[in-house]
Point group: C2
Chain length 171, copies 2
């Protein structure tokens, strides 16, 4: 059940992806936490997508979050990604991997920043805030991510996504 | 009247502060716009504060927005500012000016980022998103700012502000 809530970061420990949204964790001494935290909630939001994930995030270089997009794509969820053109080649960037898996990724083509950090889930739910998809944002920085399902607000983000998606069409 | 809404940036033109929240614009050929846009809404939200402005924003270097904090402070609104320690000395930073005017500013003391970009207004209204208080964010970047008054959410941001305010006490 999707509840309007706020996730604050940093988390004290990295949440175990296998435990929360995988087939269960089989590690004997797992170095990740099995306690709920902000990242585990984010995992769940993304893994619960049934139809679509419209991801519009400045920088995406957390492999665990990249994994969830690939899994969703393989499960026939329509995944689309917009990010900043100057961030696609940085260390750990997930963008080439997402493209290799067949997920369409578009970028701005500007020295200004495509600085959004939001995801629209199934056209009805929104995550937005200061949070880029990086390890530093998860376990170092002060960050927030608000989960909303107020349709007045969600639909404006959906429209913004569609507007940018067209604007950043490379053709 | 505060309405839950979304502000998207960039604005095509910079909104005239004097026109929207000052004593009226007396410029013969004003180079700023007198049409409503996202920045003019942000001006209004800040200028409408009656009791308090709890500003927790990574980087603050837009002088027009700095002006609004100083004006609020002079009008006996309790203004408190948290920003990132590595951003206080950058070109255009408003922080030293705010401190000189008597507004308390606290910063993290860490190589990680104090990356929030939110303001709690009068303890009841919230602005949060990707938007830093810079000229580039206003008129160049793709940015968002959500205006909320859902108390479940606003109160969590208020608590986060108080937590960080204590944590970043230099004493
Ligand atoms: Zn585990
Ligand atoms: Zn004017």
């Amino acid at each position: 059940q999707f509840v309007e809530e706020v996730l604050f970061f940093p988390d004290a420990q990295i949440a175990c992806k296998e435990f929360f949204v995988g087939d269960g964790c089989r590690r004997l001494n797992c170095r990740f936490t099995h306690e709920h935290n902000s990242l585990s909630r984010l995992y769940t939001f993304l893994a619960d997508a049934k139809q679509s994930l419209d991801v519009c995030v400045f920088v995406i270089c957390c492999a665990d979050l990249g994994d969830l997009l690939v899994t969703a794509h393989k499960n026939n969820v329509r995944v689309r990604v917009i990010c900043d053109d100057e961030q696609i080649d940085i260390t750990g960037s997930q963008i080439w991997r997402l493209r290799k898996e067949g997920i369409p990724v578009r970028t701005d083509n500007s020295s200004y920043l495509m600085h959004h950090k939001f995801v629209v889930i199934d056209g009805t739910h929104l995550l937005t805030g200061s949070f880029n998809w990086t390890r530093q944002a998860i376990s170092g920085n002060q960050e927030n991510l608000v989960a909303l399902r107020n349709m007045r607000i969600v639909s404006q983000f959906s429209s913004e996504f569609e507007k940018l998606w067209k604007e950043f069409d490379p053709k």
